[in-house]
């Protein structure tokens, strides 16, 4: 049980890639009173289709309303709510971190534990790439916090529902 009215919801939206479709979707979500916490977009196997993954804050009732409103945009083909307990979600994050002298070793250890990759090495530090769910990335960032992070770029989440229901979805 939770007293919080507002929780994060993730919706996956399949759209025709017509000009302005991204602004149509984001403007609608904002106009109906939702905050967008994250959005990512990319092409699909069909040439003219794009998939958007949007993280919004709202209660369950308003999530349903958002789905219906999204369907009113002519370019929106399909709206799929992503269910937390069935979700596979991934983000990529690039982190530019300062690491000089003895620090280098410490940073490398954290990177190894998280199976992150170093994609650029400089005399003053690294650029690290990490892929995973948002929690993993948050913890990784928290551990690197004691070192000097100079830049972070996150893609925002992309997500799908699993083939099978692996967790009980009832209750709560």
């Amino acid at each position: 049980m939770t007293d919080e009215v507002f929780t994060d919801h993730i919706v996956s939206v399949l759209v025709h890639n017509n000009p302005g479709v991204l602004s149509k979707v984001t403007s609608l979500v904002t106009r109906r009173g939702f905050n967008i916490d994250g959005i990512s977009a990319g092409p699909t196997r069909q040439n003219d289709m794009f998939r958007l993954t949007i993280v919004v804050k709202g209660d369950d009732k308003s999530l349903e309303q958002i789905q219906k409103q999204l369907y009113k945009i002519i370019d929106v083909v399909k709206v799929v709510p992503i269910i937390r307990s069935r979700m596979v979600g991934r983000e990529i994050c690039l982190i530019k971190v300062k690491a000089i002298g003895a620090e280098r070793h410490e940073v490398l250890q954290i990177i190894n534990v998280f199976k992150a990759n170093i994609v650029d090495v400089g005399t003053n530090g690294f650029i690290v790439e990490i892929t995973g769910d948002s929690d993993k990335i948050d913890s990784f960032l928290a551990l690197l916090e004691s070192h000097q992070i100079t830049d972070v770029a996150r893609t925002g989440i992309v997500a799908m529902n699993r083939w099978e229901r692996t967790f009980k979805e009832t209750g709560r």
């Binding site: 025709h16 000009p19 302005g20 149509k24 403007s27 409103q69 369907y71 002519i74 370019d75």
Partner: protein, 555 residues
């Protein structure tokens, strides 16, 4: 064929007969083609693009056809915004074609450039920027299809000047298939059966007839359903025109300024079937107390309206016309005589009314208009007190015969919308009511009434105030009439005279009968400027956010 000609030929293919258009630099090619090849198209040029858009809206609402607007880029396009937003809120079908600067200049802050698709994004059902001549005809086809089908609404097509001048083969598609837009017409049979069961079990059923009934031309089906079942009916502002045979069944208009008996019926019903209603705040008051004893069946073509403002017990998605037809094919026997007696007693005990006075009461003028104008007249209002007085007191018995800006509440709507209605209905009388404030917001359109030989009857109810806001100031702001005093109003009789329109001033109630009769009988356009009782208010009134039974009958 150049792009401009393709536009003109596409309009003809769509069966368009009337275009509300205002020329300018970015549509000069289209106007040239209209000049050369516009046979069969009635071109109406307003004095301002806002007026033209409202006129197209009034034309669309009164005829059921899609209204067409052509304007130039930049200011021409931005002037249509209020008209587009008005149409969007009331689901009125419009296709607005805006010229745009040449595609090579887009994004350079060129002369008369504005981001029309960006600006109109939240107030259109769809909008398009045509960047390639090969997409032009199919885009126009899509625009008309989207505007007029499902839940209707305005669609904007922004067409750069160079596209209008490029050549391409004209090939107008017969149909369009949009993978992501397939409005549902018929309701789910199981849901309809469940609804019939709920109705049969109900002791106190009530129908709310909404704008969707007018939009889907379902008033006949609605009346049949009411006559067959005897269930009492109320309507929203946009649902005006419903007309059961038994007058006792008819409980008028509901909401903030609804009749006492209409709102009483809502609060005491045990089952409400709402048809084509979007449950706006002006209808429901406090959502937590609205129809608190009733189960709700909600019929709407737009799934997003289900559970939006009021939670539904039984939704049916589809067009009002097709679903009501299904209802009429099924058997439904109910005995609700007790409930009907309760309501008709209430109606008799708490009628609408007004005090007689030395000054002219607007309600009296409405009574006289009803007496002298033919029953099938199209009644158009502006926004404010004039609008609600008419909605409460004018008993309109035909669909698409009450034109008013309901959702957006656009002052200045009345005159141009009446002009649009007159263009589309030369065989009917068109009667406009406006206040002294709203009339002045688009009074320049008086200029086209004589130009196009239109017949528009106009009543300006002048209380020298922006009366509806003044009323709120009386109620909530201790009579501090800030910004609502209309001193230095023009002489409306002289104003009409300047535009060569017959006009008369009225302030003596004893002369009212003859003047309104003259207005109704007049063979030409005429304006009656009426000094009404400046203190008259719109009552009853449910203050914003209150329950429908927390009603004021005096301020």
């Amino acid at each position: 064929m150049n792009g401009a000609r393709i536009i003109v030929e596409s309009l003809k293919k769509e069966g368009v007969d009337t275009v509300f258009c205002y020329t300018g630099g970015a549509v000069i090619s289209i106007f040239d083609e209209l000049y050369k090849h516009g046979e069969g198209l009635n071109l109406i040029q307003p004095r301002h693009e806002q007026g033209g858009t409202h006129a197209a809206d009034g034309y669309a609402r009164s005829t059921g056809k899609t209204g067409v607007v052509i304007v130039t880029s930049g200011p021409g396009a931005t002037n249509t915004i209020t008209g587009i937003a008005t149409a969007y809120m009331d689901s009125s079908p419009l296709v607005v074609i805006t010229g745009q600067v040449a595609s090579t200049l887009i994004g350079t802050d060129a002369f008369q450039e504005s981001d029309v698709t960006g600006i109109t994004l939240p107030i259109t059902k769809a909008n398009f920027l045509v960047k390639n001549i090969k997409d032009l005809a199919v885009t126009i086809k899509k625009a008309f299809y989207i505007a007029g089908s499902g839940r209707p609404g305005p669609v904007v097509i922004d067409i750069p000047g160079d596209i209008q001048r490029q050549d391409f083969k004209f090939n107008y598609p017969d149909t369009v298939d949009l993978q992501s837009y397939r409005p549902k017409d018929s309701g789910h049979p199981k849901q309809i059966k469940s609804a019939i069961k709920l109705l049969a079990a109900s002791k106190k059923p009530l129908i709310i007839s909404g704008g969707g009934v007018n939009l889907s031309n379902a008033t006949g089906e609605m009346n049949d359903f009411l006559n067959k079942t005897g269930i009492p009916v109320v309507h929203t502002l946009m649902g005006t025109g419903v007309n059961p045979e038994d007058e006792n069944q008819f409980l008028g208009f509901i909401g903030m300024h609804g009749t006492l008996y209409g709102n009483y019926a809502i609060q005491n019903a045990d089952l409400i079937m709402a048809v084509g209603v979007r449950f706006s705040d002006r209808i429901i008051g406090n959502p937590n107390t609205f129809a608190k004893n009733a189960k709700l069946i909600h019929i709407d073509i737009d799934p997003a309206e289900i559970d939006k403002n009021i939670l539904t017990d039984l939704p049916i998605v589809g067009s009002a016309k097709s679903i009501l037809r299904e209802f009429n094919n099924l058997d439904l026997a109910i005995d609700i005589s007790e409930w009907k007696n309760e309501l008709s007693n209430y109606k008799n005990n708490y009628p609408l009314g007004y005090e007689k006075s030395e000054l002219i009461k607007p309600q009296y003028i409405i009574e006289l208009a009803q007496k002298y104008f033919p029953e099938n007249s199209i009644i158009v209002t502006d926004v404010g007190q004039n609008q609600i007085w008419v909605a409460q007191n004018y008993r309109i018995k035909h669909p698409r015969s009450f034109l008013t800006s309901g959702g957006l509440g656009t002052m200045g709507y009345g005159l141009p919308a009446a002009i649009g209605a007159a263009v589309g209905n030369p065989d009917k009388q068109v009667l406009m009511f406006a206040g002294d404030g709203g009339f002045q917001m688009n009074m320049q359109e008086l200029g086209i009434i004589r130009k196009y030989g239109l017949k528009v009857k106009m009543i300006v109810l002048d209380n020298n105030y922006l009366g509806m806001v003044r009323q709120w100031q009386e109620l909530l702001f201790e009579k501090r009439y800030s910004g609502t005093d209309m001193e230095f109003n023009p002489d409306f009789v002289k104003l009409a005279d300047v535009f060569r329109i017959k006009s008369i001033f009225l302030k003596d109630p004893k002369e009212a009968d003859a003047v309104i009769k003259e207005l109704a009988m007049s063979n030409e356009s005429m304006l009656v400027h009426i000094a009404i009782d400046p203190d008259e208010n719109v009552l009853p009134m449910v203050p914003a956010g209150k329950a429908l039974d927390e009603v004021l009958t005096k301020l």
